[in-house]
Amino acid sequence: MISVESYKRPETIAEALKLLKTGKFGIIAGGTDVIPQMRHTPARSLLDIGKLGLDFVRENDNTVEIGAAATHSQIQNNPLIQRFLPLLSTACGLVGSWQIRNRGTIGGNIVNASPCADSAPALLIYDTKVVLLSSQGRRSVNLSEFIKKPYLTVLTAKDLVHSFVCQKGDDSAGNSFIKLGRRQAVNISRMTIAVSLVRDDSNKITMAKIAVGSVFPTPTRISELENKLIGQIVSKELFDETADLAADLMIKASGVRWSTPYKKPVLIGLMRRALVGASGIKEIPA
């Protein structure tokens, strides 16, 4: 049974911050996570950010800024995002179902801090900063630091997530996004892998960005893999070793669990597939 103590839908950010200052409110945007969670929590006061104009997507010099209340559908189909943040468009297109994508917001997906949030690995690839507002002012936190542990962020009850500032991706990059689930829609990810690679004419990798979801306790950029790739010539051996390293890092971080016997080889297989996909080379040389 769901009940609400009070409900406010302010029309200005100043008003919203004033209400948040009381520390009494929980924020609701699309409601696709909050409403189901309310079945198991006592009645609370809700602050709806739907009227704050936070559903924007705008371009700056080297960045694209996405409002916290932009929906997954909006992001999936936005031409700016498709051009400059293609992995994010792909990732948002794989969230939940059509209906959830129409209501659920990127802010909600990140604030919920689930290990399997589909948008997080893509945002990590684009070195995203989270812009937070409170009555104290404005601050900006790297996404990699924003999520502290599963279902916990640095956010306090007085903060409002305003937007995400993403570095534009390299035009020449090859990208690959893989989601492993149990069905085609309303699909909670069992593993997500986002890879972005740039190589020169001699097939030397000049830029590598790799992020994963549901592999580590939080969505994570894996610098060890990136460093291993940068400066190397694409080869089957290189990708095999990189994929193996990913699995070793997973076990080092999470230990051996009931799911490890399956997840380890599948991570290796899918990481290899993502690397090959992002390299854009059909026949990888041995």
Partner: protein, 748 residues
């Protein structure tokens, strides 16, 4: 025939799309209370103390009722009377009802029920049916925990195995399956000052509900009226469970003299209502190298949960289907329905047969491979045809279209065994059958009534005792009535099913509505039509034998008149244009000890062909396409028949690949939510090619026989066989998850 056989639109289709149907939760009554159920938190224990003082003080709580408040007998009658309506001294599963709380609103009722204090002394539960079977110390049912044992015996199995060239022996396991009907269980009771009570709700079987209410309230049947509301899916889940809900609202309504409503939320529904029986199957079968199935020996154990409910009859159907649609002269099958301290399992599309058919069809492919014969040829050598005898010794006289279904899936798919295919792709076949109707397992209920009323303006209203649960019965029966009366389809309407309209017509289960209610309606229509014929003959001045009725037009003696004018003339002469129809099935027979008899009046038949692609790195099975051919006798409405094939196939896909419900160490359902119990979505639907085959059933209306359950039944083995064909991994434990396929690949 004017509308029978045509693809007319579903009677309630546009209403449903607009959301206009009246479901139980749409009804509101003045002074209505809301109920919630206080349930056992333990799988087995003795109730020591019940303290409702605190919750009774919660504002809005109208009262709390226990077994002590039951005026009649504390029992929910289903097959055997072993299930209490409210627990008295012992509880036997997590979620067993102990008390009913009623309050002014749903929220308060649920809150109060959740806060009830009950102290229960925990007793060790039996959670595994293999341990429960003949348990030396703990006796949940009888002294062996066996609700039912069936033995099917033919020929000499031992001798036959000695003659076999190949023998395959395996163990199989299948899990719970949750119905996942779109509308959860919902019920309302309305008491009347004259001492009668009305029940409205979501249900398959209004006459079962009436029996439950007369039992707990001690009322005669003429004081209990049960009316079905629009029902959002059943699949067997609303066969016996609505009887429990009806008791849970009827008792407080009776005591407090106010209407009471109860709607389970999804989690409660998934925790405490029936599901498909988990099954443990040992199967040994043998064949000669020329491809003849010679011997089958099997042990089939199903987990019935804490009360017997429908387990005995589920086991009956499973046992009759235990060797599949094949000839075999040497058979020894022992099947058991076993008691455990878990939620009672019950009816679900296929009713005990999908589990054993998964084993049967997996075995058939393995035998074929070992002989070195293709799986289609091997089946062709063994399938039942007209004139053959079934495993229960029944000679098949008519309507056996299995071979045609097999030929059709091969023809439509363009696939032949051994045809080259891309790496990771596989094809798998299953051939199955389904005994239509209750058969010998429910012989005493194999009758139905119907009423047909023709009004002076030509509009026709009919009533039946079976229910519309989304399967399209209303439309199919309207088509039958239209053609039997020679009236246009848009004159025909059906009353919501109501126990006060027709005699006890048994349940809406076993794919029986089209044949049973169809035949009863036909009986009623013939009576009305004889009056219309006489009148038309006098109007046309010809003999009744020369008259043809067709969609509202009557011709005879070289003249044409309107049916409406004939009806008006009947009314002017005060002739009766209403009639009651009645139908009983031809006799069936059965012997539990030998497993022999004419188990069902007629059988439906089907062949499925699945095409999959297996990802060798992740073990994921991508189901590309399914061809499903079904012998339905006669498709009264081919569009609805194809809809049944598509829907049932998708439900079978879930059973095969995704749906994985388990219990935890305490005996509670581990995943009673759609976020953790994964069912297919529209996006997971593979391309399905429905194929209708029609071998008429002489006893069915226009040759029709029921088949609504069958589309689910053969999907899992077809997919399992396809996965084997793709990557040579044999999965014997449903569902076929990526982990299991991956493990199989690794072990190769």
């Amino acid at each position: 025939m004017s509308v029978v056989g045509k693809r007319v639109a579903r009677a309630e289709g546009s209403e449903r799309v607009k959301g206009a149907g009246l479901f139980a939760d749409d009804y509101k009554y003045f002074g209505m209370l809301h109920a919630a159920v206080v349930r056992s938190p333990l799988a087995r224990g003795e109730i020591r103390k019940i303290d409702f003082k605190t919750i009774a003080k919660i504002p809005g709580v109208a009262g709390i009722l226990t077994y002590k408040d039951i005026p009649g007998r504390n029992c929910v009658p289903i097959v055997i009377d072993d299930q209490s309506f409210l627990a008295e001294r012992y509880v036997n599963y997590i979620g067993e009802p102990i008390a009913i709380v009623v309050a002014e609103n749903r929220q308060t009722a649920r809150l109060a029920a959740a806060q009830a204090k009950i102290s229960i002394e925990e007793l060790p539960p039996l959670l595994n049916p293999l341990e429960a079977l003949n348990h030396p110390k703990i006796h949940l049912f009888g002294n062996d925990n066996i609700y039912k044992h069936i033995h099917i015996h033919r020929g000499d199995v031992k001798k036959a195995f000695a003659d076999c060239d190949v023998i395959i022996e395996n163990e199989y396991h299948t899990p719970y399956q949750e119905h996942a009907y779109i509308e959860p269980q919902s019920m309302i009771a309305i008491p009347f000052p004259d001492g009668s009570i009305e029940i409205r709700g979501s249900m398959q079987c209004p006459f079962y509900v009436r029996k439950a209410i007369t039992t707990i309230l001690g009322l005669p049947e003429n004081k209990v009226r049960v009316i079905q509301c629009a029902t959002g899916g059943g699949f067997g889940g609303k066969e016996d469970v609505p009887s429990l809900l009806a008791c849970q609202v009827a008792l407080p309504a009776w005591i407090f003299k106010r209407p009471v409503k109860l709607i389970y939320d999804r989690t409660e529904d998934m925790m405490v209502t029936s599901k498909r029986h988990p099954a443990y199957i040992k199967y040994k079968s043998g064949a000669t190298k020329d491809g003849i199935l010679r011997a089958v020996e099997a042990e089939y154990i199903i987990d019935g949960g804490a009360y017997s409910t429908l387990s005995a009859v589920v086991l009956f159907r499973g046992s009759v289907h235990a060797i599949g649609p094949y000839k075999c002269e040497n058979v020894d099958v022992h099947s058991y329905a076993v008691a455990t301290n878990k939620v009672p399992t019950g009816a679900f599309r296929g009713f005990g047969s999908p589990q054993i058919l998964f084993a049967v069809e997996s075995q058939m492919d393995q035998l074929a491979e070992k002989i070195g014969m293709d799986p289609v040829m091997f089946r062709k050598k063994n399938i039942l045809r007209v004139g053959d005898t079934t495993v229960t010794g029944q000679k098949l006289e008519y309507s056996v279209g299995l071979e045609e279904t097999l030929d059709k899936v091969i023809e439509k798919s363009g696939w032949t065994p051994g045809k080259s295919k891309e790496d990771g792709v596989g094809y798998g076949i299953s051939t199955i059958y389904y005994g239509v109707g209750l058969g010998a397992g429910g012989k005493s209920m194999a009758r139905t009534g119907a009423r047909v009323l023709v009004h002076a303006d030509g509009s026709v209203l009919f009533s039946v005792g079976t229910t519309e649960i989304g399967q399209g019965m209303t439309t199919v029966l309207s088509q039958i009535v239209a053609d039997e009366l020679g009236a246009p389809l848009d004159w025909i309407s059906m009353m919501p099913t109501d126990t006060s309209r027709v005699p006890d017509s048994g349940p809406t289960v076993a794919s029986r509505s089209t044949t049973m209610s169809g035949n009863a309606l036909k009986d009623a229509c013939i009576k009305i039509k004889s009056v219309l014929l006489e009148e038309a003959a006098s109007m046309l001045d010809c003999s009744t034998g020369d008259i043809i009725f067709d969609e509202g037009i009557v011709t005879g003696g070289g003249k044409t008149i309107k049916l409406l004018d004939v009806i008006k003339s009947c009314f002017a002469k005060r002739l009766p244009l209403s009639a009651e129809g009645w139908y009983i099935t031809p006799s069936t027979s059965w012997d539990d000890n030998t497993g022999q008899g004419d188990a069902y009046v007629v059988y439906a038949w089907a062949s499925n062909l699945a095409k999959v692609k297996v990802d060798k790195e992740t073990g994921e099975v991508n189901l590309l396409k399914i061809w499903a051919a079904h012998d339905v006798g006669k498709a009264i409405n081919p569009a609805l028949a194809e809809g049944q094939i598509e829907g049932g196939t998708l439900q079978g896909v879930g059973y095969a690949l995704m749906e994985d419900m388990t219990t935890n160490a305490d005996g509670a359902i581990r995943n009673p939510e759609f976020s953790t119990y994964i069912i297919p979505t529209a996006s997971d639907q593979p391309e399905i090619v429905p194929i209708i085959v029609e071998h008429p059933f002489p006893g069915g209306p226009f040759g029709a026989k029921g088949f609504g359950e069958q589309p689910l039944m053969g999907v899992a083995p077809a997919i399992a066989n396809a996965v084997y064909d793709a990557v040579k991994v044999r999965i014997k434990d449903l569902p076929i998850t990526p982990e299991k396929v991956w493990q199989g690949l690794k072990n190769k």
